[in-house]
Symmetry: C2
Subunit: 267 residues, 2 copies
């Protein structure tokens, strides 16, 4: 169990998981890191992508990245909506959805009549008083209310400013109904485990690279993976002295992380 | 300190505080209890009214009750908005308001330029994604963010169903900004104390009658007052075996409470 530190651990790695927004691209800037993705793909490492994006289907999201020059396909991308669909089917639950219109097609295969649970995503403008009331009434009328939240983010940055994220509305409904939501997506261990399962790797063989210290780095570490933070996206200088989460390494950007990893492996 | 139980304590009472919605009237039914208010007024007891209503000014609210036949005037009514105005002025704070339009006139005398705090009330339909984002951005840009919440209710009942109350949005903003709101209104001890101050009475001389076990009864008891619950309004049978709050007495309605109180006092 002699765990090598970062970047020494790179030698024993078999897989890398990349967060997308803030790592692959940053507020619209797409170039600069696509060669890093190509370099990882050309290596003997397995590569997966992992996002809490819930405003679009993976198809749409991946198409956008392909247009930005990324070599990426839908089956490599893990996002909360398909993970939620799997959970719903496994448990025979029929959801009332409060999600962004763009992600609705992910739920096409799910029976939504007579809902017996609620799923909320980053619904943005759809988080109206009326829509939140509707979700609340579904929950409060259930004998055993179940709320799934696609992520638990507080807020994110768009070109026109900070926007409230799904976690805020999760807390609202938790308080209204006196319940605890089940979070699907990062930092849920189940979510990271599904990526590991897909790669057929152990946590100790896998490295997560993200810009979100708590959800990317902390979530991965909680599963036994290594977690590296990039100084792009939602990175803040204060992350480097965070009270509970310490990244295994911090790098300026994805390109630097990939250089270090592949350099250690003698590429 | 030989505290008589209920209704025995009635003999030593000097004042009664009544919650309004759910006690004086219940989903539109106004009659039946206005004679009880008259009987209290005709007694030697002081009487005040105390509400977490934040959708209208006290003037409008009282006018509605007068039309329903209640002998009641504005100076007898304590509600969160004027209490908030007093706190804002005392602390030199300028609020960004996220409240129902009907209550805005209560804040007429307050400087709202360059806000350095946020006040939220039961804003109902005004709790849009955009408006909540605006309040959030004010808070997150303050060096020391201050959030006041006019009450902390989870939900209330209207003729067309259950509606989310201000507490739900308080929790949302608390999570978004990683802060703790200051609650103004029931069950805040400061709020009950302001009613006691107005009557010039000690808590032990005063009885609160409400339909909300936690906010009315529990809040009053926390201040040293006695708290009686009526089985009207938002009363639920489960309140009578609540894990943390036990009313000093439970009665079917205000009329029964007043009969018992005045009966004990030999009226």
């Amino acid at each position: 169990m002699a765990d090598a530190g970062w970047p020494g651990c790179s030698k024993s790695l078999k897989g890398v998981v990349l967060d997308m927004c803030g790592v692959l691209y940053d507020s619209g800037e797409g170039d600069g890191v696509s060669p890093s993705v190509e370099a990882l793909k050309a290596s003997d490492l397995q590569l997966r992508f992992c996002t809490n994006e819930t405003q679009a289907t993976r198809e749409k999201f991946v198409a956008k990245l392909q247009r930005l020059g990324f070599d990426i396909c839908v089956s490599e991308v893990f996002s909360p909506a398909p993970a939620a669909v799997a959970v719903l089917k496994e448990r025979g639950l029929k959801p009332h959805l409060l999600v962004y219109d763009g992600v609705l097609p992910e739920f096409d295969s799910v029976d939504k009549t007579n809902p017996n649970c609620v799923v909320i995503g980053d619904a943005a403008e759809k988080f109206s008083y009326q829509n939140l009331n509707e979700a609340f009434r579904v929950l409060i009328n259930l004998e055993k209310p179940v709320l799934f939240s696609l992520g638990q983010g507080r807020y994110y940055k768009e070109t026109d400013g900070l926007k409230l994220d799904v976690g805020v509305y999760m807390k609202a409904l938790e308080y209204a109904c006196d319940l605890k939501a089940e979070v699907i997506g990062k930092p849920s261990p189940m979510f990271f485990q599904s990526v590991l399962n897909d790669m057929g790797l152990q946590p100790s063989e896998t490295l997560m690279i993200g810009d979100d210290l708590v959800n990317d780095v902390g979530g991965a570490q909680h599963c036994g993976m290594k977690g590296i933070q990039v100084r792009t996206g939602k990175y803040r200088a204060s992350d480097e002295k965070h009270p509970t989460v310490t990244a295994d390494g911090t790098v300026d950007n994805l390109a630097q992380a990939v250089d270090l990893i592949l350099g250690q492996r003698g590429h």
